[in-house]
Symmetry: C2
Subunit: 315 residues, 2 copies
Amino acid sequence: MSLQERLVTGDVRALARLLTLAENNDPEATRIIKELYDRTGNAYVVGITGPPGAGKSTLTDKLVKLLRGQGKTVGIIAIDPTSPFTGGAILGDRIRMQDLYTDPGVFIRSMGTRGHLGGLSRATQTAVKVMDIFGKDYIFIETVGVGQSEVDIVKTADTVIMVMVPGLGDDIQAIKAGIMEIGDVFAINKADREGADRTKIELEMMLDFGDHKDWRPPITKVIALDNTGTVELLENMFKHREYLEKSGELRNRRFRNTREELIQLVQSRLLELILQGTDKQAKLEGLVDRILSRDIDIYTAVEDIIKKNFNQVKF
Amino acid sequence: MSLQERLVTGDVRALARLLTLAENNDPEATRIIKELYDRTGNAYVVGITGPPGAGKSTLTDKLVKLLRGQGKTVGIIAIDPTSPFTGGAILGDRIRMQDLYTDPGVFIRSMGTRGHLGGLSRATQTAVKVMDIFGKDYIFIETVGVGQSEVDIVKTADTVIMVMVPGLGDDIQAIKAGIMEIGDVFAINKADREGADRTKIELEMMLDFGDHKDWRPPITKVIALDNTGTVELLENMFKHREYLEKSGELRNRRFRNTREELIQLVQSRLLELILQGTDKQAKLEGLVDRILSRDIDIYTAVEDIIKKNFNQVKF
């Protein structure tokens, strides 16, 4: 059987293989995804994010087990900061998900933050498509919610669960604040810690300032480690899904994300075209030399490249 | 006098005005920078980064005062996480730099992480050019070192000072590790805290694994608040500069950065071309609709756009 056939018949090794091909930007992966594109769009994508140490992995583990109890299949894409010296992902928390690895209805893929051709965002979106084609009911994207690129990734989810934790320092709070607006459902994890109620009040106050249309993000106190509040959190996720589906917002959201993805793919394809071939590399570098010696300014150089290469834009 | 003339005669209000124009992607700003492009390339750019709470602003304040004592002029670009609800930058630490604001030889520009046309990275690079043209001897870029986009920004500096602090949690350490490789000079701030020596040993061990060519990043213990170790840290920055200049690495580094900037500018110009005009927007959105209804797959859509719009790439 071909890889493509094995994928649609539920062969887990075929799934793993295609994910690897996709991560390496292998044309075979693109060909297969194109071929099976009409099988995408069925999985529900959940983003889980929050500051370091908030317990996102433990919470993911519990939510996934609840979904498994309802007979749903799940894919998890866990994005880990990459070690600069080994090149590999720093697993850390992943270890806590260990027993999920033995469940055939769950497939976990860890990705480091470095070394993806075409970028981490693209790699994640491709992995989502592959798991979607495979037939997963839910796909979780888990990432440490710091930095713009991480925010951009988690924003592509249908529901974003923002995990907070009581008593973080001011600096962390500031970073947290930067990503607050993307949360659809909030969890205050480790809610047995001092300050949980204060964190909840602060959060409610921040939400009061936001513009939520018809959906006000609910806040659930949870203790992921002993499964307290996780059922309620999952219920809130379902409610958000229901809201999105009934209001038509799900389509709007997916429209925005697909539009963004299309633009990014065009841009990255362009980059490939610019850099392909040693001759072009040499010419590009000659231009950089001229900029460095102030023979030409960088903006004029950009205009020159554009003029020489692009027609009027057509669709 | 024109804005351009006022800028080169050292009018601080002209500097502020041009920075604002540049941030808004105003064509007038581009025109002036192009006109004065041969005045760029003289300032020495220092990046300061590290985890939240490491005391980067206090340290910047002290280093800048030392440079001022040597008669050097300084520009500071402080990148702050943006509040999602007010839209403004969360100043926080900036307050500690207050007395620098009254020094005419120092110019401070705060930038939020959101809402820059063409991206924060582009806004920062433009601000560097403007301060460079104005005649600043040193330009500091200060940013919280978390997330890929922040790393990309600080990487454009000539010397990157990585500020660490003893006793951060494991998760923070992991994030820290992700950006460790870009440090040219390390500072362990708050070195009177427990664990400073251990942090230094761990850091030395991590550096042992790295590939440093002829420059091994030195580690300085500092207590920024009472100015302990800051002179030594500045000396190490000077040594790094000397190394870069003598070895030819400064040019290599600026070459890589300029090459990267050129590519990014071409990409973002392309994005403008794609999105300009309501007609094009409508066509793009029609395409997105077709992708969502699985009438066409996204990769074929990308190929179509590329085929219709780009010639063979030329320089």
